[in-house]
């Protein structure tokens, strides 16, 4: 997605990114009582990140994010499952939810929160991680770049496989030196 990268475009994208994320967080937090929720918020945030990638380029996104969205998604799943497992420690069924009502909290006043929110945040993270990862790798692949960086290749592919992009440069020297025959070695 090497779109136009004018200054105006970049600034607009950053503004949109900011606004969309604010909306997303709002949607996430109010989800229990009004339209919104983790899934919708996650999609919104993902869209904002995709917009951002239009501005900085998909390779730039990798530098910008500094972490692998896959881990974000996995963490989301852990969070959601963990939220479900919490009641098991007090001998209650899996996934039972509890609400907390705090009054007289400074600044916010009355706060209603509960484990459903935790669960919803897990959903949010999964949706963001999955959507971003998929869009980013496909975008790279579509541009003829290697979809996975060297570190990711070690994590998500067998040592005897090659990227599907026929003319992609090797991800690292090590991979380039790896002979094709190694698929057959034990």
């Amino acid at each position: 997605m090497n779109g136009p990268r004018s200054f105006i475009f970049n600034s607009t994208v950053r503004l949109v990114f900011f606004l969309v994320n604010v909306v997303a967080v709002y949607l996430l937090l109010r989800g229990h009582n009004a339209p919104g929720g983790g899934f919708i918020a996650g999609l919104a945030t993902a869209i904002s990140l995709i917009f951002l990638s239009l501005a900085v380029g998909v390779e730039g996104m990798h530098r910008l994010l500094r972490f692998d969205p896959v881990l974000l998604a996995a963490a989301g799943l852990v969070l959601a499952a963990g939220a479900g497992m919490l009641p098991m420690f007090v001998n209650q069924p899996f996934l039972e939810h509890f609400q907390f009502h705090l009054s007289n909290v400074p600044v916010l006043g009355e706060v209603h929160a509960g484990t459903p929110l935790l669960f919803d945040v897990g959903v949010f993270l999964v949706v963001v991680g999955v959507t971003c990862k998929m869009i980013f790798v496909f975008a790279k692949s579509a541009q003829g770049l290697r979809a996975l960086v060297a570190e990711e290749e070690r994590r998500y592919s067998s040592p005897v496989e090659q990227p599907i992009e026929s003319d992609a440069p090797p991800a690292s020297q090590e991979a380039a030196a790896r002979p094709k025959e190694e698929r057959h070695a034990n």
Binding site: P93, F94, S158, V160, E161, N186
Partner: protein, 502 residues
């Protein structure tokens, strides 16, 4: 703590942990194997406890039965859990023996565990839509594994699997929606209670037929099996064993569950249809097997043929035939998986599993031959091996109910099975031209053979101790058919939402 969630949670958490771990290595392997052993032990414990006592019920989120989702582990589900965890463990160990962790695909283990979580959820759930979710988990994981290590040609072979199962999922979603319209609920127990008073409504039968098609696709009955025979052989051997053992059997399990526990027992036309389709599946499956000349292809077609036996037992629809079906499932999963593993050992030794280019195995690897012979003859149903008793019970019920044509079909399918097993035996084991090399220097085969032999010992135990296994199967069948008992257990758990009159 209620253990009902653990068969699903354990593989899920293992998968996530392994995913975070990232790169393959020995500790990761130990972790997964350890988790597999724990899962198996848990499942066996569940079998023992559920057979002797009440079924395990977990109301998720502490919502009373029809409102939330319930997980129910009755003996049938527990048996299936034990089988799935056992097969998965064997598959994992075989995979360890086959490839060193240096060339292992890093995603294979986590995806296997995800697959297992999906399969286990399908066994445990007591809710129609949750069953759909379980199928989704299972299918998406199986698509991923199917294409994970495939080359570009194999991916094309996997496409029918994807396409047909997507159609199946769509139909399932429609059926779930229609079931909600019809019964106003998705909970199995609730549906069973509500359906029993509207058994005369033709809509129940229409829904039953739609579900028959949906689960027929999953089980691979005639003419819905196109996705299976070409896609399974492209899998790596240990995964092929797991798929062959478990995936279609999830379909069989759901047929048992839906027609036994959920829908009224008076849907005679649906049962009849099942029985006749089963007859056709047996014959067409075994004919396909004879037409193949590589071991994985032969075995893949045999899955279909044997699905026919199980579905026939469901179609005959008596408590004894249900027990026969469950016994057959137990036998089949272990035997079929181990046969794939044995085929893999042969492939490792001969460097091919094309029967035209195999040979000399009986001379050089007699242990492999013994193991193969046990399992192949068990598959063909020679007494006193495990395959015989299931078939025996099915024939008994068939003769009792006067289904002579179907009994004859099952006998013909048996002898044709024997024929195709002899084809493998004669070509791969007995045929001994001097130029066929047997790579005994590739010492992996010893370990691989040990895994297969372990499964064979279990299956021999099932054959010789048929009494005990059949008792368990009978208990499972009786409990699966006892709709009121099922509902009673489910509704006895009262949580948020209060008690509801069933």
């Amino acid at each position: 703590m209620n253990p009902t969630i653990l068969p699903i949670l354990l593989p899920l958490l293992t998968a996530l942990l392994v995913l975070f771990w990232g790169k393959p290595g020995r500790p990761r392997r130990v972790l997964v194997a350890g988790s597999g052993i724990v899962q198996l032990a848990l499942a066996l414990w569940l079998v023992a406890r559920s057979c002797t006592g009440e079924s395990f019920v977990l109301t998720l989120g502490n919502w009373s039965a029809p409102f939330g989702i319930v997980l129910v582990i009755d003996p049938l589900a527990a048996i299936m859990l034990a089988l799935s965890t056992f097969t998965a463990l064997a598959s994992i160990l075989y995979g360890y023996a086959e490839l060193s962790f240096r060339v292992e695909h890093p995603l294979r283990l986590p995806l296997t565990q995800f697959l297992l979580a999906g399969i286990n959820l399908a066994f445990c759930t007591g809710d129609l839509f949750n069953l759909f979710v379980a199928f989704e988990i299972m299918l998406i994981a199986s698509y991923a594994l199917l294409t994970l290590e495939a080359d570009d040609w194999d991916v094309k072979q996997a496409f029918p699997y994807l396409a047909v199962n997507l159609v199946g999922s769509t139909l399932f979603l429609c059926a779930a929606g229609l079931a909600y319209t019809l019964f106003g609920t998705l909970n199995f127990a609730d549906i069973a209670m509500r359906a029993s008073v509207m058994a005369d409504d033709p809509r129940v039968l229409a829904l039953g037929l739609l579900l028959l098609v949906v689960f027929g696709i999953k089980a691979g009955i005639f003419p819905l099996y196109y996705w299976l025979p070409n896609s399974y052989p492209t899998l790596p051997i240990p995964l092929a064993a797991l798929y062959a053992g478990m995936l279609t059997k999830v379909g069989v399990y759901v047929l048992l569950r839906v027609f036994g526990t959920v829908l009224p027992h008076s849907l005679e036309p649906a049962h009849q249809l099942l029985a006749w389709l089963a007859g056709a599946t047996m014959i067409f499956g075994v004919l396909g097997a004879i037409s193949r000349n590589f071991i994985r292809g032969i075995l893949a077609y045999h899955i279909l043929s044997q699905i026919g036996f199980m579905v026939l037992a469901i179609g005959l629809f008596t408590p004894l035939s249900f027990a026969a079906c469950i016994f057959y499932v137990i036998h089949h999963i272990i035997v079929k998986s181990s046969l794939f593993l044995i085929g893999g050992v042969g492939l490792c030794l001969n460097r091919t599993d094309n029967l035209d280019r195999m040979g000399n195995l009986w001379r050089h690897a007699p242990w492999l031959g013994v193991v193969f012979l046990c399992q192949a003859l068990s598959l063909a149903g020679l007494p006193p091996l495990s395959g015989f008793w299931g078939k025996y019970a099915i024939v008994v019920v068939g003769l009792e109910k006067g289904a002579y044509v179907l009994v004859a079909a099952s006998l013909v399918a048996s002898i044709l099975t024997l024929f195709s097993m002899l084809k493998i035996w004669n070509s791969a084991f007995w045929n001994s031209p001097d130029e066929r090399e047997v790579c005994l220097w590739d010492l992996r085969w010893v370990k691989l053979c040990r895994v297969a032999a372990g499964m064979t010992v279990v299956s021999l135990g099932i054959g010789l101790g048929a009494e005990g296994v059949f008792r368990v199967a009978q208990e499972a069948a009786v409990r699966a058919l006892d709709q009121e008992g099922y509902a009673r257990v489910v509704f006895s758990r009262i949580g948020k939402g209060g008690a509801t009159p069933p």
